[in-house]
C-alpha cells in the first residue's frame, strides 16, 4: 500500500511541477507577484512529494518487500542494512528517482532563499527547474517505474551487483548526482536571465555559490568513484578514461571553467554572454552524461542499464533542453549588455585563457568519447578510443594551463604587469627547478618525465601559497604580523589557494605513479614476494562463509627491511546469489603510499596467483581532490557569498557600491 502511495506521490509531483513550470513564467511575464509566488510554494510541495516517494521505495528495500519488482531485482534479505539502502540507487530506476529528488532538493533550497533572490529571477528560475523535473518525472513514470509490483511476489531477491556492495558505492552516486544536478541551478538561472533579458553582477553573485557547491560535490564524487575503482576492480588503476568516467569529467571541466568565469562576471561585470553559455553547456553535459550512462549507448565498466527505449526518451529530453536553451541563448543573448573592460594581461585575461584551455580539454573528452559512435553510425568503421589517445591529447592541453595557473592567480585585475608577476614568483620557480633537479639526481636511470611532473606539482602548491605570502609578509616585519594579516585575508582567497594547491597535490600523486613497482607470483603459504622496499609473506589462506557471500582470504605479513609492519588481508569472494566473483584488494597505507595486493585464481594444489604493487604517494591523487573541494567549500563561507552578509558587516561600509536589484 505504501508503495502505491509512493507511486501516487510521484504522479502528484508531476502535476505540481507542471503548475510550477507554467504559472510563475506567466506571472513573471505579466508582472504579477501573486502568480510568481506560486513558484516557491509548489517547489516545496514537489520536493515533499518526491521525497515521500523516495522514502517509500527506501522502506520497501529495508523491509525486503519482494512484491516490488525493483526490490526483487536488486536486493536480498541477507544483505547488510547499508547495502539495502544503497541498493535503492544502485539500479537504473532508483538512481533516476534519486536524480529527480536532488533536482527538487535544489529547487526547494532556491524556494527558501526568498530574501536573497529577486522575485522575478526566482520565479523564472524555478519555472525552468520545474521543466526539467517534468521531463524526468515523465521519464520515470513512463519508462522506469521503480514502484512496479511483481505478481506473485518472489520469495527472495536476486541480490545487488556485488561490485556495488561497497561503502564507496553507497556514497559515490549521491555525491556525483548532487554535483551533476547542482549545475541545473546554474542552468536554470542562466535561462531565467535570458528570459528576462537582464543580467548583472547581482546575478553572478547569486549564482556563484550554487555553481561552487555543485562543483565541490562533483569533485568529491569523481574522486570517490576513482578511489572505488582503484580498490574494487582489483588491478590498481584509478582512471580508465572509461566513457562513464568521461561523462562525469566533462561537466566537471565545464563547471570548473564556469566557477572561474562567474568570478570575472561578479567582480568585473565582464564575460557575461560567455558565462551564460557556459552555464547552459555545463548542465547540457550533465544531461549528456546521464544519457550516456542511462541509455547504455556505450557499454562500459560500470554501465548497468541497457535499454534502447529509455535511451530514445532521454535523447528526446536532451534535444529539447539543450536545443531549447541554445535557441533561447541565440535569441536573447544579443540583448545582454557587455561591461567591464580589461587589458589582455590581467586577471580577467588569465581567466579567459583558463576558460579556453578548460573548454578545449572538455571538447577533447567529448570528441574522444563520441567519435567512435559517430564514426560507426556514419561509415560503419569500428575504432576504439582509449586511454592512450586521451593521454596524448588531454595532457598537452592541461599542462600549459597548469604552468600558467600560478601566474594567473598572481596577476592583478583589470591591468596586470607580467614582469612584476613573474618577479613575485621567483622563489617558487627556483624551488620547483631545484626539486626537479634533486628528483632527477636521486632517481637517475628511472623515469625521465616524472621528475618534471613532481616539479610541476611542487610549483603549483608553492605558487598557490605564494599569494598568501606576498599579500601578508613584508620584509623586516615580524612573522606574527604576517600571520595576523594572512588570517585576515578573505576566505575566498584562502579557498582559491587551497583549491589550486589541491591541483598540485593531484599532479604530484599522478606523477609518482611512474615509480609504481609491480610483482607477480604464484604463492603457497610461507612463500615471499617483494615490491619496492616491502616484502610480503603469505601466512595462510582461510575460507570463510558470510551471509551473502563466501570467500577465500589470504593473510600476508608485511616486512620492511626485515622489520614486521603488520598484516594485510586480500580476498577472493563469490557472491552466491549471482554466482559472481569479486576481488577485494588488501591495502596497507604507509603515510601517503600504499602497498596493494590482489589475489588471482586459486590453484588446485593450494597455491594462489598474487599481484603486488608498491604505490608511492598514490593517496595524493584523491587527497588532492579533497583539498580542492575543501578550497571550494572555504570559498563558499566567504562573507561576500554568505547571503545578505553585507548588512551585518561590522567593518566600514562596503567600498564598492552594491548594484540595486
Amino acid at each position: 500500500m505504501l508503495v502505491e502511495a509512493g507511486h501516487f506521490a510521484l504522479a502528484l509531483a508531476l502535476g505540481l511541477s507542471l503548475i510550477q513550470f507554467v504559472v510563475p513564467l506567466w506571472g513573471a511575464r505579466a508582472n504579477d507577484p501573486v502568480l510568481m509566488s506560486v513558484a516557491p510554494t509548489t517547489a516545496l510541495a514537489v520536493l515533499a512529494c518526491v521525497g515521500f516517494a523516495f522514502l517509500t521505495l527506501t522502506y520497501a528495500y529495508i523491509s525486503s518487500d519482494f512484491s516490488v519488482l525493483n526490490v526483487v531485482e536488486n536486493s536480498h534479505s541477507a544483505k547488510p542494512l547499508i547495502y539495502k539502502i544503497s541498493g535503492v540507487w544502485g539500479n537504473h530506476e532508483g538512481s533516476m528517482l534519486l536524480w529527480v529528488l536532488i533536482l527538487c532538493l535544489f529547487g526547494g533550497v532556491v524556494a527558501l532563499a526568498k530574501n536573497t533572490v529577486p522575485m522575478r529571477l526566482q520565479a523564472n528560475t524555478l519555472a525552468v527547474q520545474a521543466a526539467i523535473t517534468v521531463a524526468f518525472l515523465l521519464f520515470i513514470l513512463m519508462t522506469s517505474n521503480p514502484f512496479r509490483r511483481l505478481v506473485p511476489a518472489a520469495a527472495e531477491g536476486q541480490d545487488l551487483n556485488p561490485l556495488l556492495q561497497d561503502p564507496g558505492l553507497a556514497i559515490h552516486p549521491p555525491l556525483l548526482y548532487v554535483g551533476y544536478v547542482g549545475f541545473s541551478i546554474s542552468f536554470a538561472f542562466a535561462c531565467a536571465a535570458l528570459i528576462d533579458g537582464r543580467i548583472d553582477a547581482v546575478w553572478a553573485r547569486i549564482v556563484r555559490p550554487w555553481t561552487l557547491a555543485a562543483w565541490c560535490f562533483l569533485t568529491l564524487g569523481i574522486a570517490m568513484g576513482s578511489y572505488w575503482a582503484y580498490y574494487e576492480l582489483g588491478w590498481g588503476g584509478w582512471w580508465f578514461w572509461d566513457p562513464v568516467e568521461n561523462a562525469s569529467l566533462m561537466p566537471w571541466l565545464a563547471g570548473t571553467a564556469l566557477v572561474h568565469s562567474t568570478v570575472v562576471m561578479e567582480k568585473r561585470d565582464a564575460l557575461k554572454v560567455w558565462t551564460i553559455l557556459l552555464a547552459i553547456l555545463t548542465f547540457s553535459l550533465s544531461l549528456l552524461g546521464t544519457f550516456l550512462v542511462r541509455s547504455g549507448v556505450l557499454t562500459s565498466v560500470h554501465s548497468f542499464a541497457v535499454d534502447p527505449e529509455r535511451g530514445t526518451f532521454i535523447l528526446g529530453i536532451l534535444v529539447i533542453f539543450i536545443g531549447g536553451s541554445l535557441a533561447l541563448f541565440a535569441w536573447r543573448a544579443p540583448l545582454l549588455q557587455q561591461g567591464g573592460l580589461f587589458a589582455p594581461i590581467s586577471r580577467e585575461g588569465a581567466l579567459v585563457v583558463n576558460n579556453l584551455f578548460l573548454a578545449s580539454a572538455c571538447a577533447t573528452v567529448f570528441i574522444g568519447t563520441l567519435y567512435p559512435l559517430a564514426l560507426e553510425v556514419l561509415t560503419g568503421d569500428k575504432i576504439s578510443v582509449g586511454a592512450p589517445f586521451f593521454n596524448a591529447t588531454f595532457l598537452p592541453l592541461i599542462v600549459p594551463l597548469l604552468l600558467l595557473l600560478p601566474l594567473g592567480q598572481t596577476l592583478a585585475w583589470k591591468r596586470g604587469n607580467l614582469l612584476g608577476t613573474v618577479q613575485r614568483l621567483y622563489a617558487v620557480f627556483g624551488a620547483s627547478i631545484l626539486v626537479v633537479l634533486a628528483v632527477l639526481a636521486f632517481t637517475y636511470g628511472g623515469p625521465v618525465l616524472a621528475p618534471f611532473g613532481i616539479g610541476l606539482g611542487v610549483y603549483l602548491v608553492l605558487g598557490s601559497f605564494n599569494e598568501i605570502v606576498t599579500r601578508s609578509w613584508t620584509r623586516g616585519k615580524p612573522l606574527s604580523v604576517a600571520w595576523i594579516k594572512a588570517r585576515g585575508l578573505p576566505r575566498s582567497t584562502w579557498g582559491t589557494v587551497f583549491a589550486h594547491a589541491g591541483v598540485g597535490l593531484v599532479v604530484l600523486g599522478i606523477s609518482a605513479t611512474a615509480w609504481d613497482v609491480e610483482s607477480l607470483g604464484t604463492m603457497k603459504p610461507g612463500d615471499r614476494i617483494g615490491a619496492g622496499p616491502y616484502q610480503l609473506r603469505l601466512e595462510r589462506i582461510v575460507p570463510r562463509q558470510e551471509a551473502n557471500y563466501r570467500e577465500d582470504a589470504a593473510l600476508f605479513r608485511v616486512d620492511r627491511n626485515g622489520r614486521e609492519l603488520g598484516t594485510v588481508e586480500s580476498m577472493k569472494r563469490l557472491y552466491v546469489t549471482r554466482g559472481m566473483p569479486t576481488t577485494e584488494a588488501g591495502i596497507l597505507t604507509f603515510g601517503l603510499s600504499q602497498v596493494y595486493v590482489s589475489l588471482g585464481e586459486m590453484q588446485p594444489n593450494g597455491s594462489v596467483g598474487v599481484r603486488l604493487y608498491y604505490k608511492p604517494l598514490v593517496l595524493l591523487i584523491w587527497l588532492g581532490a579533497v583539498v580542492m573541494a575543501f578550497g571550494g567549500a572555504l570559498s563558499l563561507t566567504d562573507r561576500r557569498l554568505r547571503i545578505a552578509a553585507p548588512a551585518r558587516n561590522r567593518a566600514a561600509p562596503p567600498i564598492a557600491p552594491v548594484p540595486a536589484e
Binding site: W235, G237, F240, W241, D242, P243, T299, S300, V301, S303, Q338, L341, F342, A343, P344, V352, L356, F357, A359, S360, A361, A363, T364, I367, G368, Y371, L375, T379, D381, K382, I383, S384, V385, G386, A387, P388, F389, A392, T393, F394, L397, L520, G521, T522, K572, P581, T583, S598, L599, G600, E601, G609, R611
Partner: protein, 149 residues
C-alpha cells in the same frame, strides 16, 4: 548479437584470472617491458573498455601470449601491432591510427583551442577601447549632471 554472445562468453569463461599471469611473463625483462607497453595499448575486444593488459578475460590472455610470441620471434613493436590490426581490425587499437577517418578526432582538440583563441582575440579587440573619450551626447549629459548641484 555476435558481440553480445562474445560478451557473455567472456563473462562465463573469463572467470577471474589475474590480468597478466606469472606463467605468461617473458624471461627477457626488456622484451617483457615492451610486451606490457604494447598490451596496454590493445583493446580486449570482448571487454568493456579494458586493455588486454588489464583484462581477466581468456581472449585477453590469448592475445597477451600472442604478443609475447611475436616479440620472441623478433618482431618490432609496430609489426606486432600491425599483425593484430590485420587479424582483428582497427578496433583492437586503443589509440586509433592517424588516418583520413580519424583526422578530425586527432586534430579537433587543437582546432578547438586555436579557433577558441582566435575567437577570443577578435572579440576582445572589437570591443571599444577602455579610455575612449566621451561623445557629444555623453558630455552634455555630464555637464547637465554637474550643473544640477
Amino acid at each position: 548479437m555476435q558481440r553480445v554472445l562474445l560478451l557473455i562468453a567472456a563473462l562465463v569463461l573469463g572467470g577471474s584470472a589475474l590480468a597478466v599471469q606469472p606463467d605468461e611473463v617473458m624471461k627477457n625483462p626488456v622484451l617483457e617491458h615492451r610486451a606490457r607497453e604494447i598490451s596496454a595499448g590493445l583493446r580486449c575486444m570482448v571487454c568493456q573498455n579494458q586493455s588486454i593488459d588489464d583484462s581477466d578475460a581468456q581472449l585477453a590472455r590469448d592475445l597477451r601470449i600472442l604478443v609475447r610470441e611475436r616479440l620472441a620471434a623478433g618482431d618490432t613493436d609496430q609489426q606486432v601491432r600491425d599483425f593484430l590490426v590485420q587479424r582483428y581490425g582497427e578496433f583492437v587499437l586503443l589509440k586509433p591510427a592517424f588516418r583520413a577517418h580519424t583526422l578530425l578526432l586527432w586534430l579537433a582538440p587543437f582546432l578547438v583551442l586555436i579557433l577558441g583563441a582566435l575567437g577570443a582575440v577578435i572579440h576582445l579587440r572589437r570591443r571599444p577601447k577602455a579610455n575612449a573619450a566621451l561623445d557629444e551626447e555623453e558630455r552634455q549629459a555630464l555637464e547637465a549632471l554637474l550643473k544640477r548641484d
